[in-house]
Amino acid sequence: MHGQSWAVRVGTVFVLLGLGGAALAGPALNNLVIGATQEPDQLNIWEGAADTKENILALLFLGLTYFDVDGNLLPGLATEVPTFANGRLRVYYDAAGNFLRQEVDWTLRDDAYWSDGTPITTADVVFTFEVQNHPLIPVTFRTFSNKIAEIIVHDAKNFTIVYKEPNPFYANPSGRIGLARFYDLAPKHVWEPIFLEAEAQPEKAAEIITAKFLGADPATGRDPAKVVGSGPFKFVEWRKNQYLRVVRRPDFFLKPPGPEENYIQEVIVRFIIHEPTLLAALFAGELDATDDIALSGYDPAVLAAQAGEMFKVEAVPSGFIEMLNFNHFGHERYGEEGCALARDLLLHDVRTRQAIIMAIDREALAEAVFPGAIVTNSFVVRGDVGYNPDLYPWPYDPERAKALLAELGWKDSDGNGILDRITPDGRKVEFRLPHVTTPAPFRIRTQELLMEYLAEVGIKLEPTNLPAAVLFSTEFINRGSICSWPGIIEYAAGGGIGEVPADEISGELWADDPTTPEPLDNVPRRANGFAGSNVGGWVHEEYDRLHFAALNEFDLEKRAAIIREMQVIFNRELPFIPLYERVGIIMYKVGLANYVFAPIARTPFWNAWMWGWVERGAVRVY
């Protein structure tokens, strides 16, 4: 009896604790609380953005154009998207067909205002370009702005961008790709004083720029009034490592159907780095939705079963392809400076790579390590205009793999289960294949499965794990030529969706610009200070030619055809083994309308002005 009353008292205390603080989420307050496992470092628009930052910036900024859910390129701050057809895009060539210049006319909307009420004008455009190219400002990418010859201002709303190099992606707003984007415009009246202060002290550039520019109030949110954007929501506060809060802008020119007050008035993005905690907060009703990154790797079916009637669970294309990149530095083109172990393992020989892909049951592996993932044979994701569906599928066929390896001289001469061969210089080497990747649980599971598959054909996989900060450091991944990773390195690359279809196209992950005098300048080696993005060192002349033809092709269909041709070479040569297309997951309460993932924009944040609760009168458009 005494024990019972004690238990009841404790229970009562907890119930009272609970009643004393209900979560502030959902339709009752007409707000939306979204859970995210990553948090932006700061909100400056000058630095390259990871996906979470892109999501947040999509609440605060809208560019000249944006992609809708169907991949249509629509005008944002601009009145229309420049095209050849409407005369706003012009490309000039000389009589010999050589490129002369490209001109793109833009007009800003009359009703486009910054979130502090200041009109958005061509002065902001020119200022953004000036900062973008200023030597002291640590803007991440200049791939796009470096192509600009000048910006001609006609009046407060009209301007023309003149390019000195062809830029078929002149209107693409995809920030992550970065190739084409004219970055989100910066409000001149906010940033100019900071810019001038940083510019005035060039001798202390690094310190001042970090503290005064990247750490400026518009980027950190310390002074909310300084965070001025062009997007559908206005910044309110950012409690670091906790949440960021924005409110609807009544003066934003894109409107949802029906009365605006029926739609979400406040968005809170809560940063919860630990996925199980985020899930707990979701199921406890503290969150209304998750972003597209938070639950990546979870099994959508399991989540759906847990979610019951309360949440919708959608698997969405992440745009990323998980891959096994090979060390190609055993190739004779690298001579003595190459990686001896990779040479011993014959990784530069296409038959070795073909044998390895056939030794792996990729269907079973994808199912086991990344539920919902789709096995792929391309570097471009499905659904992309440039995706080639007719590639050879490289089915699981260990017998063919063994035959190919035997053809290369591999045999198990000592019966220990590991293949060996005698090298031309008389050494006996065993096929012990190093595999390095990050310690993410799904990658560790991948290593376990790869060990089993490859053991079946006589290859001994030797797995290692390194923190991402080490794996992706220039001291490691860029030094395959000196055997920092002599076998396979596993990571994911963007397979892209849209006009610029892959990290490969914009980042040249295994291509090299054939127009530059040095043929291997994109391959990190001792000779070039380990610079370049082609970390595996695969080189193919025809592939390179096609790669750069695609980059300069204005016609989307023709460009897609070139990229499909590139995939045929890729599929045959296998510079890396594409394992599977990863999927992202979004979860949201069933009453939430228009929270829909746009594959090309790679975010569910592309139309935040249309988010709303059905029970509050929001119209479900998507």
Partner: protein
């Protein structure tokens, strides 16, 4: 004593200097730099961009040159900006992270001590009773159950299943606008589960120590004498036995104090608590050198100072120890 103190304090300076050199060198020499994250997160980031930024941030200079720049500023109290957050590193650590850590770890320490002492005394006084066995079982669970697992289980039970307490974080977004009372109450609710989780190991360990210590003391002759003199049991336990039995526990608590400042990575991660532990861990992984430096130097300083304080305390408590 005074000369000892002066000598020890003067030794702190070269010790800190050496520590700073070692930490800076280790951070600088580990693979990776602050730009790697930008480089691999953004396919359009060219090597030319990388080289431009390396030069701009001074990362092209050898580590010892950068160290001297850092030291020159640090002695003036300027620890540089956080590369990730844009804020001054010291502001990030001391204003944003340290208060959260002190609140969580400090409370956990107080709760652990507050529960362990009476529980240990109770077990000792009722040795081999049901209470003793129950507390002992709970102690073994507390010692052996991993903190992160306990945290997740508590969240599952009290947040997901029962809905009584929040799943993590410092507080409910936007609640500050609803008044101070609501805000404070919300903060208390958010503290309960992480404090219980974090205090569990210390609570269990200290209870065991307290029990053993008390068992030793209550069989001493002076306790028997006190009983023989007819003193009430309450006075014997609280005034004579407890005072002596608690001394070893106080030593353990003192040793745990520096840990209060350095945070608890696992508990902070599970409960989304932005404290020092995660700040240091994240800063090292993200190559945010200035943040890592200021945090690690602060902890080093604390350890040195608490070592001196411990030596001083020994001398004050134990008359056999002299430093002259």
């Amino acid at each position: 004593m005074l000369s000892f103190l002066v000598r020890r304090l003067l030794l702190v300076i070269p010790t800190l200097f050496l520590i700073s050199v070692v930490i800076y060198a280790l951070l600088a020499l580990k693979p990776g730099d602050p730009l790697d994250e930008l480089r691999f997160g953004n396919p359009g980031f060219t090597h030319a961009d990388y080289e431009r930024l390396v030069k701009l941030y001074g990362l092209d200079k050898p580590w010892y040159v950068r160290y001297w720049y850092w030291l020159g500023r640090a002695v003036r109290g300027d620890f540089g900006p956080s590369r990730r957050y844009g804020l001054p590193a010291a502001e990030f650590i001391f204003r944003q992270r340290l208060p959260n850590t002190l609140l969580l770890s400090g409370l956990a320490l107080v709760v652990a001590f507050g529960v362990a002492v009476p529980a240990g005394v109770l077990c000792a006084l009722r040795r081999h009773s049901f209470v003793d066995y129950t507390v002992t079982t709970l102690n073994f669970l507390g010692i052996s159950v991993p903190v992160f697992w306990l945290g997740i289980m508590l969240i599952y039970l009290f947040s997901v299943r029962l809905g009584w307490l929040p799943a993590g974080s410092l507080g409910t977004p936007g609640l500050a606008a609803q008044g101070l009372g609501a805000y404070l109450w919300d903060r208390v609710r958010h503290l309960i589960l992480p404090v219980v989780t974090l205090s569990s190991i210390q609570m269990a360990t200290w209870t065991r120590f307290m029990r053993s210590s008390m068992l030793e003391v209550i069989h001493d002759e002076y306790i028997r004498t006190a009983r023989a003199k007819g003193l009430p049991e309450r006075t014997i336990v609280l005034k004579h036995a407890l005072r002596n039995a608690v001394l070893p526990i106080i030593t353990l608590v003192a040793l745990a104090v520096p840990g209060v400042f350095s945070g608890a990575v696992l508990t902070e991660t599970v409960f989304n608590w932005p404290g020092m532990g995660r700040a240091i861990y994240d800063a090292i992984l993200a190559n945010d050198f200035n943040v890592a430096m200021v945090a690690l130097m602060f902890i080093s300083l604390l350890i040195l100072v608490f070592n001196i304080l411990a030596d001083v305390a020994y001398a004050l408590v134990d008359p056999r120890i002299r430093y002259d």
